[in-house]
Symmetry: C5
Subunit: 380 residues, 5 copies
Amino acid sequence: MKKASTEAAKKIQSIFSSGHHRRHRRKPPGQIPGTAIHTGVQRLDNVLMTVHDFDESHYDIIPIQKIEKSEPYLQNKSKTWIQVRGLHDIEKLKTVWNYFELHPLIQEDIVSTSQRPKVEHYPNAVYIVLRMIKQSEQDNGNFKVQTEQISIVLGENYVLSFQESDEPIFDPILKRLELTTTRLRKLGPDYLAYALSDNIVDHYFHAIDIISDNIEKIEEEILDEPKQEQLQKIHALRRDLIYFRKSVWSLRDGINSLIRDDVDLISSDVKVFLRDLYDHIVQVVDSLETNREMVFGLYDMYMSGLSNRMNEVMKVLTIIATIFIPLTFIAGIYGMNFDPEVSPFNMPELNWYFGYPFSLGLMLLMTGGMIYYFKKKNWF
Amino acid sequence: MKKASTEAAKKIQSIFSSGHHRRHRRKPPGQIPGTAIHTGVQRLDNVLMTVHDFDESHYDIIPIQKIEKSEPYLQNKSKTWIQVRGLHDIEKLKTVWNYFELHPLIQEDIVSTSQRPKVEHYPNAVYIVLRMIKQSEQDNGNFKVQTEQISIVLGENYVLSFQESDEPIFDPILKRLELTTTRLRKLGPDYLAYALSDNIVDHYFHAIDIISDNIEKIEEEILDEPKQEQLQKIHALRRDLIYFRKSVWSLRDGINSLIRDDVDLISSDVKVFLRDLYDHIVQVVDSLETNREMVFGLYDMYMSGLSNRMNEVMKVLTIIATIFIPLTFIAGIYGMNFDPEVSPFNMPELNWYFGYPFSLGLMLLMTGGMIYYFKKKNWF
Amino acid sequence: MKKASTEAAKKIQSIFSSGHHRRHRRKPPGQIPGTAIHTGVQRLDNVLMTVHDFDESHYDIIPIQKIEKSEPYLQNKSKTWIQVRGLHDIEKLKTVWNYFELHPLIQEDIVSTSQRPKVEHYPNAVYIVLRMIKQSEQDNGNFKVQTEQISIVLGENYVLSFQESDEPIFDPILKRLELTTTRLRKLGPDYLAYALSDNIVDHYFHAIDIISDNIEKIEEEILDEPKQEQLQKIHALRRDLIYFRKSVWSLRDGINSLIRDDVDLISSDVKVFLRDLYDHIVQVVDSLETNREMVFGLYDMYMSGLSNRMNEVMKVLTIIATIFIPLTFIAGIYGMNFDPEVSPFNMPELNWYFGYPFSLGLMLLMTGGMIYYFKKKNWF
Amino acid sequence: MKKASTEAAKKIQSIFSSGHHRRHRRKPPGQIPGTAIHTGVQRLDNVLMTVHDFDESHYDIIPIQKIEKSEPYLQNKSKTWIQVRGLHDIEKLKTVWNYFELHPLIQEDIVSTSQRPKVEHYPNAVYIVLRMIKQSEQDNGNFKVQTEQISIVLGENYVLSFQESDEPIFDPILKRLELTTTRLRKLGPDYLAYALSDNIVDHYFHAIDIISDNIEKIEEEILDEPKQEQLQKIHALRRDLIYFRKSVWSLRDGINSLIRDDVDLISSDVKVFLRDLYDHIVQVVDSLETNREMVFGLYDMYMSGLSNRMNEVMKVLTIIATIFIPLTFIAGIYGMNFDPEVSPFNMPELNWYFGYPFSLGLMLLMTGGMIYYFKKKNWF
Amino acid sequence: MKKASTEAAKKIQSIFSSGHHRRHRRKPPGQIPGTAIHTGVQRLDNVLMTVHDFDESHYDIIPIQKIEKSEPYLQNKSKTWIQVRGLHDIEKLKTVWNYFELHPLIQEDIVSTSQRPKVEHYPNAVYIVLRMIKQSEQDNGNFKVQTEQISIVLGENYVLSFQESDEPIFDPILKRLELTTTRLRKLGPDYLAYALSDNIVDHYFHAIDIISDNIEKIEEEILDEPKQEQLQKIHALRRDLIYFRKSVWSLRDGINSLIRDDVDLISSDVKVFLRDLYDHIVQVVDSLETNREMVFGLYDMYMSGLSNRMNEVMKVLTIIATIFIPLTFIAGIYGMNFDPEVSPFNMPELNWYFGYPFSLGLMLLMTGGMIYYFKKKNWF
């Protein structure tokens, strides 16, 4: 049993994909600030680049190999979104970064994939780091949550997006882009940047639902029987919630700064929508805090469950012991070897005609009394 | 018993109508922001619209089928309140929204009925989301609290209100409108918007009373006998209080922004009243926090109740065991089979004339001593 | 016992006068804001009005029946304080309110006697709500604290004070008014308003002392023997402290706003004194928070007291059981019926000359060993 | 034992001089604000006044009887520090106060010796209240901390200091004044006021060390054996730390206001030093908060110590009981009186040749099994 | 065992180098503010001074004995970094300080090596105090973290760095300085000051990893078997985390002030990098807070581990006792000495042919029933 629990400790079940707390470990200390080093995992063979060029009248999707190919689309008056997937090939990414003259610190953050979500203002761009949260069903039917860093760079007439895998997380946006009447087509690149962010925050609600489900499941298990494993699960949930909440919190501050500060790249029309996004984020934070309270409640439940169990065990012991100890005492009395023949005072009961039934009756009486007492005390 | 408790876990008793924590689940992710989708329950067959047109000299109530019918009332100089009940028929609502040129995000929030209370400023309108709290008596005599989202849109010369059901929650306002001398008739639509909000906040005090009653009831139950179910109730209360408090808190911020910010639609006369409303909300928040402290106290009570129980059980066991174990030992002594005939040292008591009474006396003495000891220790 | 504790639960001992938490229940929802409805208790037969007219050269006290009688005193250049006692006769109060043109919300708050302390600025007046705290000795020698709402309205050349009873809470002020050289006579009505408030805050220190005494008393009781009732008392203290603290906190904010904001009615001379008052309030808040920590400490003490008790009980059980169980076993051995005559191996001790003394010695030895072990473990 | 613990409760060991929490009790309520009443203890026979007059070229110390004697020193261009010791003789102090035209509220605070540390700005002076903390060794070798209120008034060309006793707390300053090259002699009275304050804050670090030592001592005691007295000590430490922290916190705010606000009496040169003082105070606050966390840790240690003890007691009981109960049962079996002669099935063991050794062997085997089981469970 | 635990208490394992909490003890109180007294440890024989002179075209490293030797490098247009190692020789340091006219308070803080990290603005310099954190492997394979105070003074055209030892903590910077194209060579001394600070903050992530590892190790140990030592480790971790967090927090405030305030010495280019540094610090704070939560979780785990153990012990006792007590009772019954010959009612079983097997069967039946009951209760 010892072994099992030790191993269990090694795999505390986080609902987030394993290792995310570790991934905060950055590149070795002493690196030049602004050095782009990919700290994530290679998930694609090549870096994929797609140009989405659109305005109210047209929408073109052009896969490109070299960033220079996007030149004509950037020159024209329509809005351009360049979607980059795959972060492992720094050299190729550098061609993109240099083309758009991104600040070295942006470059560093795009590929160091354990950033906290944030919004940063640079002279020629707004840099938004988001964390996509994707559910994936596991073998045991449980849901896991996997996170992936998404970087969005909003320039004057373009939006760049960077992601590690080619998960179809922006599909809803692509579908909406096909409709001519959507705001996406009418409004500027700032609205696109908003829409991409909103799309990601939308998924947070599902992550929260998964956490809520987990909490309820653990609650039921604890009510069934409190076990050490549940405490570990509570422990892991607690950590997940802190991690999640901190992420969302820093995103909240970032979005807020976009609304309050006088950022040229963001039009006031889009600010109204950002306010709505901000509102959603606050709702997420609220839910996370409620969930955190619930997790504290789980611990209380666990501890009181243990106490309840102990009480039950003690009651069984006490009932058995208090019923049988006096009986055994009576049996002990009549097992004494005083010699009835020496004196009439020496255990005359032994020679009574109904001596044995009398002693059994005495025992029955005591048992009855005890049971009555326990009934009155509500112990059964 | 296991089964029962598991089922109990599934129906943790929230005093709020079931499922409200769930309702935070929004429409599927990836929707276009500003898409109006009703996330609540259809409670009426049709969307009901009523125009309340009034000024100091008249008060007319006109049910209408099409929003265009309200045109004459909006044109005249009197104030107009259009009360809309039923949120399921998006098409019909859209005629209203378009008529008043409401922002798509307002439209979305009106029908997505799990918004946090909030106040939002738009160029041509102030949008207020409130949560009505209605008590309803249950079969078991307990009170439940049901919540319903109320949206109020304050324009320059009109107020729109949207609600899901036709619960008569605004009846007090209707009655007051019939009186010619009320401020409602004298002051502008901003005062009406205030009055509607104040009417809703007034009900919060009752919800708090219900929660307080619940706390006291659980307290009594715990003092009677601590049971697992109570812990679940405490758990649920805790969640309810967080939920309630967060709702009221966000409303508080909204009302505060109306007072502080320079909103054209709100006159300074009405701001004095808003300050009063703000004060009421703060009082609600205070009460909720006090209640939350009380709920923490309940948990402490529960745990110490368990400990007390355990102490009691242990005392019973200890008293019985410490009284009878020595007695049984004495009985055991005289049950030994040493042969008195072999030696005068071998249990001569067995052949004493008063041997048996002597042993019984010895036992009585020990029992008396024990009882005296326990009395002194205050164990009875 | 069950009964007793249930009843006890019903009367949790708050040191504040019973029911104050309840009194937050306001008039029925849906009332017109600004409707004056007395929510307190009638304590006087009639509304008493007294005009205090004074300046550096004179001090007159004139009981009046109608507010119009105060006209000459308000017209002259001296300062005028109109003390109103009794809040049940709304009609009569209305004559006063209308005379001074008080805002309907002030009117409402004066008679709805469960307001949080607060300071509100109106165009022609500053409205201060305070809560008087009076100790009253109870039959059992304990002190109770009773609270009463005091309203002070500071106008340009007058001060109005409203209270429910005719408790002589302002007697120190009246005495000081008789002295010609006091600041009260020299400075304006703003100083009087300050002096009245300061007089009330002064009593808070005594309320805190009573709470501190209570805490110490409970502490001693817990150290003596932890009982369920103490937990209830702790529970009640906790609630009282939250309630008290919230009240004082809102007063603190109010006084602060008087100091910081540019209020015409308050001279800078008086602001220095208000700063002193503010300081006292902060001291009260500090003491309350210290007390709150102490109350948390009480709970810790209670729980560890329970654990200590349990330990003690368990030790007694363990000592008795571990001493006697082995002895009983030995007695049991020699109570076995192996036939010594069948074989020399069958319990030859039974026929030893010193068999019985030997067995008793064996028992003594074991007892001694056990006692030595427990002594070493520090269990006695 | 009951008695002892009750008495112990009465003398909860605060490391601060006894009664300081009590001293917050002020003069009776209803006093005129600004009334100087000494709320401390008389520690000197007479009020001692000393004039320290100094500049870069000279340093004179002149004991005076009447404040008028200081006139020449105040008139000249050098800086003057008037040190007043003894606060019981209000009349004499009044001559000083009136001479310097101190605000009545300053007067009141100087002699009401349980003020929170604070800094107050008056038109002609800055008033600083500090709390000196002096260690004093006790009979039992423990250190106690005694506090004394020090008031410093900084005027345009003078500094006044007021203290209750003539403890040589300013000796380091006096020594430094004798050196011609020190900043004390060069800079203005604001630097002197700073130096006096800094001198007092310096002692706080020692008070913190004493608290830290106490915490460590209690920790060792708890690890040795958790006792009720330790909990009381923890309780007292907790209170001390809150009290200390609140004092230092309010001082921190005061010093901060001196740095931020535009105070004429403080030169920018001295502000740099005040910033350093501020930094020290923040360090004190940090240490206090760390200590507070440690004290919470002590409680956790205490509770888990109790649980550990209980576990140990239970283990002893369980080991003894589980070893001997089965043995006693076997002895009981062979103590039954079935008649072997009636039937060959009736306890034939009794007549076995090796019956007794067999039964003893059976017992040994069981004991061995039990001991093996407990060893495996790590119970020894 | 008592002894061992006491000694253990004396060496609570802090992962930070021993005594750091103590080192807050400063020089004796009453010292002149600005007096430079080395409060650390002498780690070098002599004070080492090295001039690093560089610009885009050259990079020279010149060890110097006297600070005057640096004159030519300071005069030219290139940037100069003077690295000072060794803080014990105040006289020598004074020559440096006087040369650069550092404020006495800077001087004091450089050598009093237990400063909180901070950033201070002086007219001619920015003074930054940092705390280097170095891991060092211990004999037992555990990592220890040692801290060392680093002071950085940023002047108009120079940077000074002060450290106690000659640990090669700035080696990465030295290597980067050798590359002609780095920003270090291009940008001003403000960038160098940033780079030095960033280098130090980079190491914090490793310290956090060590703490995380410690937490996980303790977690596994607790799951294995909760022991008193673990609680002490938790205790120490808690203290370390508070200490670490407070340090980083104050650094965070300092860096923030550099970004927000209008500091001439910091160019806006470098501010972008400082913002990045700020971001890293916030990440460190976040991780520390997450870790702190985890440590609280450890305590919960420890306590519930104790309860679990107790439950297990109790279960063993209860199972053994409830199985054997009834059996012993039956054996006791048939050990009674009622005389079967006196009456047919007196224990006829004793003379039954299958009396003994019947009684054994009865016992087996009871045992089976008990075991079934315990199985059903899930006690095995």
